[in-house]
């Protein structure tokens, strides 16, 4: 590694540290370096003061009428109800009956569709979390092949944390964990490696299984136990994902009674 690229990665670490984006292990290592490296400490202090200067810039307030102007512009967007007026030749009762009937049909259809699309949405978000993690420098927030490190890391961050079995013997090595946000809730995702393939296992509150499917080129498989719904996402072929499910379920048998 050249001097330039060393400084470059220092600079990135320094920024990530100031922004609170280093994982706890790296942050700790960086703090030790800060304590012993005078020049790094000076750059750190300067960065902190720069950030402070930018953050304390006076901010313009939104002009008072802006929200109202937006509202009235949106009002103008609404189409006028022309179509209903054209149906005047219909008898009024028939129209009313049809409307009631239509409303009943469509509201039940809407509920079904909504439930379905919510589930689809969950699958989409879980897959998006997987894709995003592959784009990041690493697919996890906490890197560890030690289940006794990953589990407490989740416990410290989430109200509910899953068991974290190491499945190396079954061909799925534990890489680490990350927190994904599904809907508005942070949830635990355990990351495994199988040969060159990454498997993200997202754990949701139970009752949210999605159908087995392929989305954006990734296979999605989900199952539930009493505590969690698990959604596995990977570019592994679906038979291998099924193997993964069996291996995981065998290691996470009956949930502990608290």
């Amino acid at each position: 590694m050249t001097v330039a690229s060393l400084r470059d990665s220092d600079e990135l670490q320094l920024n990530a540290y100031c922004d609170g984006e280093l994982d706890p292990v790296s942050a700790n290592a960086f703090e030790r370096r800060l304590a012993s490296d005078q020049s790094l400490k000076a750059r750190y202090d300067r960065l902190v003061s720069l950030r402070q200067a930018v953050r304390s810039l006076p901010q313009l307030d939104m002009p008072p009428g802006l929200q109202a102007r937006i509202q009235s512009r949106l009002d103008a967007e609404r189409p006028s109800p022309v179509r209903v007026l054209r149906q005047r030749s219909w008898s009024f009762q028939a129209l009313a009956a049809a409307a009631v009937f239509g409303a009943v049909i469509s509201s039940s259809a809407i509920i079904t569709i909504e439930r379905y699309s919510q589930r689809e949405e969950v699958a989409r978000e879980v897959v998006a979390g997987h894709i995003r993690s592959l784009l990041a420098p690493q697919p996890f927030d906490i890197a560890s092949s030690d289940r006794h490190t990953v589990k407490p890391w989740f416990t410290a961050r989430l109200p509910e944390s899953p068991q974290v079995p190491d499945l190396t013997a079954q061909g799925f090595a534990l890489l680490g964990g990350r927190v994904d946000v599904i809907g508005h809730d942070p949830v635990a995702t355990i990351v495994y490696k199988h040969a060159a393939h990454t498997v993200s296992l997202t754990t949701l509150p139970p009752g949210q299984s999605v159908s087995e499917q392929t989305m954006a080129g990734y296979n999605v498989r989900s199952w539930s136990d009493a505590h969690f719904t698990y959604i596995a996402v990977s570019d592994l072929p679906s038979p291998d994902l099924a193997t993964f499910e069996r291996a995981f379920s065998a290691e996470v048998p009956a949930p502990e009674i608290k």
Binding site: V3, R46, R51, E77, R124, A136
Partner: protein, 181 residues
């Protein structure tokens, strides 16, 4: 009925972030009246596209629309100020994104001073930054978004967010140094 739903969703998803949206637009456009145009246009886009909102992160979704609206506005109205990274050659990109303002010279600890610049200088320096660096700094410091959300809003990988933030702050440091003299 569909329209009322859309309107209610818009009120719930986009409207709460209006002050922030305005702030972001103002920093990207550089003045208040253009910011207002951008926010109005963005609100209209958000309303028309409210069905695409994925119920994940309303704030990031709203700011993404504002950011994209601001960029198309800038491209149309001030094409010279927007040098898109994609339009540059690989070598130019490398230079802009990575090479420090002081070249490869390593500063001594004594040279590295803490900032005492006044707000006006900081504001001026930030306004001078190329927009792709300015936006990540504004999203980070003013909107206080994390790397993941910034990556989503600016549609680049997290690694690029990191290098732009780092480089943008170096540029800002250098600009503030120059302004003082």
């Amino acid at each position: 009925m569909q329209n009322n739903d859309g309107r209610a969703a818009f009120d719930e998803v986009f409207l709460p972030h209006l002050p922030e949206a305005y702030r972001l637009a103002q920093w990207l456009a550089g003045n208040a009246s253009d910011a207002e145009d951008i926010v109005q246009e963005a609100a209209l886009r958000a309303y028309r596209g409210i069905r695409n909102f994925g119920a994940v992160n309303a704030r990031a979704w709203s700011l993404t629309i504002v950011r994209n609206t601001a960029f198309s506005w800038l491209t149309k109205n001030r094409p010279k100020t927007v040098v898109f990274m994609n339009d540059l050659s690989a070598a130019q990109q490398q230079e802009l994104e990575h090479e420090g303002p002081h070249g490869t010279r390593i500063e001594t600890p004594e040279e590295i001073a803490v900032f005492r610049a006044d707000a006006e200088q900081v504001q001026k320096a930030l306004a001078q930054l190329p927009v792709q660096f300015r936006e990540v700094i504004v999203l980070r410091e003013i909107n206080q978004m994390n790397y993941r959300d910034i990556a989503e809003i600016t549609n680049v990988p997290i690694g690029t967010v990191m290098s732009r933030l780092s480089r943008g702050r170096q540029l800002l440091t250098a600009l503030l140094g120059d302004l003082k003299q």
